[in-house]
């Protein structure tokens, strides 16, 4: 790929970097207890928590770094962090 003049680039390429590989703990979402408030999606620094068709939420593990903010903010305690076996 030819270099773009002036070290400029179009959007999209950050997605090439799958930051999920950094993760030590994985968030496990329980849709049964989820109140669908959406705080987990609102506060994720990666923007990788998404609403499902049912209106509950799930993380995109390609990018989730396992920080645990979603677990901390969930008012229903329906997210728990689990050590990930790789």
């Amino acid at each position: 790929m030819a270099l773009r003049v002036g070290c400029a680039a179009p959007p999209g390429r950050a997605l090439d970097n799958k930051t999920g590989a950094w993760r030590v703990f994985k968030p496990v979402f329980d849709p049964e207890t989820c109140s669908r408030c959406g705080m987990c999606a609102m506060v994720c620094p990666e923007g990788c928590v998404h609403e499902t068709e049912e209106g509950t939420f799930e993380p995109d593990l390609d990018y989730c770094k396992g920080c645990g903010i979603c677990e901390e903010v969930c008012p229903k305690k329906s997210i728990r962090m689990e050590k990930e076996e790789k």
Binding site: L3, V5, G6, C7, A8, A9, P10, P11
Partner: protein
């Protein structure tokens, strides 16, 4: 039609006709008359531009960068300490490939503080990636601004340029100048078409950082663009000649060099004095000529070697000093002439406004022919 006017006013008039859309500048002697004139033109609705009265030269060039990236033709002017304050932004603008044109009313750098002319300021930015064009007189200063915009905005180049003219010696001096009319300038210099710009319709990230995988290649690309600017300058200079009758298709220009044994090499207004001195020396039977460097960046090394292939002695007049390393132009001329057999001597001269007369030029030629050089010329040893 020739009009008699101050150099700074002539520059402001031609800048106006180049139709910059954003101007950001900070006042500094001896650049002030240019930006005062432009501010008045904007106030009078003669120039349809945003004039940003920034709080420093650092912000002046930073604002120019933003405006250029957003898609406007921009202009600034500065000198000396102001250019030094822009140091960091200068490298940034070149690396981000923004075609900004900036006038440098050349002045010395402190300490000691001096408002007077030499070329230390722009020469100190030689590694920054800006094209550098030097004017011998105010006509050339006017013409080089049009050429500079044309070269910088060439989508094959995309670089910024200094148009350098000597502070006070040119900037504050009245000379007859032919000022092209607006229609003529428009015919030569088309409206600005940005290669890429900040635009919500087509988002791009500008000025990203480069890891070691990419940094060298970005530097290489910018370096290649500077070398490509030689051809672009020659083309723009030739077209200028065809339209206006003043040809600038040469990166270096010889004066009475054809059969010369000794050649002076210089940049800027000192060339005019040197030409008069050469005429007198020629009358006295000395075979002396001058090579004027018009484009210091890109450096015309092969062109210099070609132009000086017949001379045995070369005397470089350096209005700067790379402290602890000699004159900057002399060092590069020596490299360009390496292996040619010519004896090349460097003279640090005309620093901080020290006047150079015809007899000084003749004295330099004498020193060179006696094999004495690589020295400060005209030191007042009585005060040392």
């Amino acid at each position: 039609m020739l009009e008699f006017m101050e150099g700074s006013h002539a520059v402001a008039e031609i800048v106006k006709r180049c139709r910059p859309q954003v101007i950001a500048a900070y006042p500094i002697t001896p650049q002030t008359h240019i930006v005062e004139d432009l501010a008045q033109m904007v106030a009078n609705c003669e120039l349809d531009a945003e004039y940003i009265t920034v709080e420093s030269e650092f912000s002046a060039l930073s604002a120019c960068l933003g405006a250029s990236a957003a898609g406007s033709r921009v202009y600034s002017a500065t000198t000396s300490q102001g250019l030094a304050l822009m140091f960091e932004v200068c490298f940034n603008v070149a690396g981000m490939r923004q075609p900004i044109v900036m006038t440098i009313a050349n002045r010395s750098l402190g300490a000691p503080l001096s408002i007077w002319n030499d070329q230390q300021d722009s020469i100190s930015l030689r590694d920054s990636g800006w094209l550098q064009f030097y004017a011998e007189d105010n006509q050339e200063a006017v013409d080089l601004h049009m050429i500079a915009y044309k070269v910088c905005e060439d989508h094959d180049i995309l670089l910024p340029a200094f148009v350098c003219f000597d502070g006070f010696i040119l900037s504050h001096t009245y000379e007859p100048v032919a000022l092209p009319g607006q229609e003529e300038v428009d015919a030569y210099l088309p409206a600005f078409t940005p290669y890429q710009r900040l635009d919500a319709e087509k988002p791009l990230s500008f000025g990203m950082y480069a890891t070691p995988e990419y940094y060298t290649e970005f530097r290489y690309e910018t370096d290649r663009a500077l070398y490509r600017a030689k051809e672009s300058f020659i083309k723009a200079g030739r077209e200028f000649g065809e339209q206006f009758g003043r040809d600038y298709s040469a990166l270096v220009e010889g004066y009475r060099l054809e059969d010369a044994d000794t050649a002076l090499v210089a940049m800027g207004s000192i060339c005019g004095t040197a030409k008069d001195a050469i005429d007198e020396m020629r009358d006295a039977g000395k075979k002396v000529g001058l090579l004027k460097i018009r484009t210091y960046r890109p450096f015309p090394g092969p062109e210099i070697a070609d132009a000086l292939s017949g001379v045995s002695t070369v005397a470089v007049l350096d209005k700067n000093i790379s402290l602890g390393g000699g004159g900057a132009v002399g060092t590069e001329v020596k490299a360009a002439l390496y292996g040619s057999g010519a004896a090349v001597y460097d003279y640090i001269i005309a620093l901080g406004g020290r006047d150079v007369r015809k007899r000084d030029v003749a004295a330099v030629v004498d020193l060179a022919e006696k094999g004495k050089g690589d020295m400060f010329y005209g030191l007042r040893t009585e005060v040392l």
